[in-house]
């Protein structure tokens, strides 16, 4: 486990920025955490190809750190939402989604108050054109995200961020499905290869 105050990455093969409330999210989500000492090492490593996954608050931090395009804003309706949602894997060719097939539908919980993905029209068009939209909400758009986007990646596909929580869909006993496991098996397979 890497600590926010770490000044080196200690040779990790991949990094996950988990969900949570960094610094309480009293300011814009992720706006302070992007300045954590460990980010000074993580950002260049990610640009050099280290697989990085940001989940929920982690996604917000990756956007704040400009590793991913766009931003996360308050949900339409302005309330926190916890809901099991069908998602569509739009792009299976990333470090974190290769265990899935393009177009595959998975059931994963969303739980966030600032999960509405936003980007300017040019960026959105660019994301679609370059296949950087990785995950979308398959049915109703729960939070007002632009184009129903739940997750995106960088141009290289090694950095992925999404608002839903695949780690809560790894065992039907404690989640709605085991559909989220693919994110983790994807990166393990990639690192082992």
């Amino acid at each position: 486990m890497l600590w926010h105050g770490d000044r080196e990455l200690r040779g990790v093969d991949a990094a996950i920025l988990p969900g949570g409330f960094s610094y309480g999210d009293y300011l814009r989500c992720g706006a302070i955490a992007r300045f954590a000492p460990v980010m000074r090492e993580l950002v260049p490593a990610a640009r050099a190809g280290l697989p990085v996954l940001g989940i929920c608050n982690g996604f917000q931090i990756l956007c704040e750190a400009h590793l991913l395009p766009g931003a996360l804003t308050r949900n339409a309706g302005l309330r926190f939402i916890t809901r099991d949602l069908p998602l569509r894997v739009e792009r299976a060719q990333t470090a974190w989604t290769r265990a899935y097939a393009d177009g595959e539908q998975i059931l994963v919980p969303l739980k966030s108050g600032e999960g509405a993905y936003a980007a300017d029209p040019g960026t959105l068009a660019g994301l679609r054109a370059s296949g950087q939209v990785v995950i979308t909400y398959a049915e109703a758009n729960p939070n007002g995200s632009a184009d129903g986007i739940a997750g995106v990646c960088n141009a290289e596909g090694n950095v992925v961020g999404l608002m839903p929580h695949p780690e809560h869909a790894v065992d039907p006993l404690t989640g709605p499905s085991a559909d989220g496991l693919g994110f983790f098996t994807s990166v393990v397979a990639g690192v082992a290869a």
Partner: protein
Amino acid sequence: MRRAEDTVSRAGETPDQPQPFAELGLTEAEYGKISATLGRRPTSAELALYSVMWSEHCSYKSSKVHLRRFADAAADSGALLAGIGANAGVVDIGQGYAVTFKIESHNHPSYVEPHQGAATGVGGIVRDILAMGARPVAVMDALRFGPAAAPDTGRVLPGVVSGISFYGNCLGLPNIGGELDFDPSYAGNPLVNALCVGIMRHDDLQVAAATGPGNQVILFGSTTGPDGVGGASVLASAAFGSAAGEQSAKRPSVQVGDPFTEKLLVECCLELYAAGLVVGIQDLGAAGVACATTELAAGGTGGMAVRLDAVPLRDASLGPPEILMSESQERMMAVVEPARVDEFLAVCAKWDVRAAVIGEVTDTGRLVMTWHGETVVDIPPSSAADGPVYQRPVERGADQDALAARDPAALPRPADGAALRAALLELLGSPGLADKGWVTDQYDRYVRGDTVLAMPEDGGLVRVDEATGLGIALATDGNGRYCRLDPYLGTQLVLAEAYRNVAVTGARPLAVTNCLNFGSPEDPAVMWQFAEAVRGLADGCAALGVPVTGGNVSFYNQTGTAAIHPTPVIGVLGVHDDVRQRLAIGFPPAAGGTAGAGLVLLGRTEAEFGGSAWAYVLHGHLGGHPPAPDLDAERRLASLLAAAAAAGLLSAAHDLSDGGLAVALAESCLRGGTGCAVRLPGDPFTWLFSESAARAIVSVRPDDQAAFDQLCAAHDVPGVTIGTVGGADLTVEGLFSIPLDELAEVHTRTLPALFG
């Protein structure tokens, strides 16, 4: 320049100086008792300290004589590692694990400032659990408001829910259940009760005692500010009047929450415990530094010397009285051996938690506090910690007989299938029974990854040990209508329902906590309700074999002279031997074309409508007698369910309570997305809407019917097969049928329509 502080020597020189004891909530007799104890008038700091410590909220001065019943009843339980009197009770759940849980009110702050009031209610109960040495693992909340459509409910409810959501989600604790109900009696005094549960190993147990003269006293966490001054005395221990503007005048008495600091405090404390750096510890809640120092000193060697000017402040203008009374959140106080202070401070620094040594343990038997070198407090700590004890007058309310005489048998009943159908839909869409998703979707139920069951299930279920499947189940229940009709029987019904809600998950109920919400203890009729409720709970716990491990009393829940319905909220904890064998309420779809599971109604159904949801929702009626509790039958039902779950005979189980069988069937159909068809064995109205206790509906796996019948016989639980699971409608044969889509529409639209 510093203002001149009222010191002990000055108090000796000015014995006749008038002091604002009445404004601080003390009576003249109490003020006289303080002066007699000290042999002089108190200083202003001492007066502040006594006023909060002797408040109803902190001292339990009106309830203590009644609460002794719980200790008497709990004495012979082998499962208790720590009981009443500790910050929270601790229960042995086996495999070396112990669980601590407690429920507390934050009613008054939540009315004045709903968001922060409710948020800090969560924060406060979490620190109680943390102070026992446990890792907090889940929260629940039991909420009661005025009429759902009332304008003030539209102010209070969304704020309360957002406060709980804000604090609990940020803190990283799953919210696994609770309650939401509405009644006009709560219009000027909503109830916000928060529960927290924590898990530890047996030897992690911490004590709230300042022992070992020379040991250092460390205050850590947030800085101390002017927020919440007088929260325990002027806010929590007095009734709201009906004057407009009173809420805003009391707003400064509400604290402000910082859940991120609380998260750091939790992790910091757990690391301090693991390193063995703590001799004693106490959370700071109501009455802040005053309470922590007096209780630690009174519980330990007996003396403590405190330098109040060493307390880190966020407002430099605060003096000793404000520092003592401040209820700034996210603070803890620890007693640490001198040689380990540096290690202690290093752990705090790692977590960015501010810490300051503010004093040390002494053997003088006195709690002495100084302010820039001058003594401002010098008292025997137990005199503040123990507080007065009152035997308040108790008298059965004059209206109880008239209430009992309002027999619900006189109400017009639905006479045909169409009327029964309409009654069910009206109940299902009523605010108290409608789908709670508008509220619960704002709570994170998944965080920590061990939530097996959460609302809208009957009980929450959390995995404790991944290897063995050991888990804990929790449920809270309350029912102001039953308790208004008969506080003794009503409280037993509430206890029985929480017990049953734990049992239908397949868990074995083990222990009880309670939050007793009542009106003014100075009203003899309220004190009668209270005494009856306590007696009912103590007798009920004895009959069920589950001890009360702790709880909280909230008095003065009234507007002017009108008290709320007496509302004891009972939390029951159970242990689940293997959470993989848990039972849930949803009817499963029939798999692969096989016959649907058989529906068995367990327990006896009598015509019992006093205090029922049907009488209240359809007729606005409250009268007669509540259903008769049968605690022996509850015990048998619970052991049957645990055995059936362990044997894997059932595919669903749901307790019957508000709205009876009809509402339970609808909920199970909607939860599982599967319909059912039932034939009623007698008077349809009674079978559908009676609220007889000790009942549950279960769906039995088709191949296991015979084995289940045998198990029912062995546990002496009557069961009647009333139909089968399957299809896309809820059908009561010969009477009515409702498509699930229509049920769902009626059930889910109510709260969004009210609250946006």
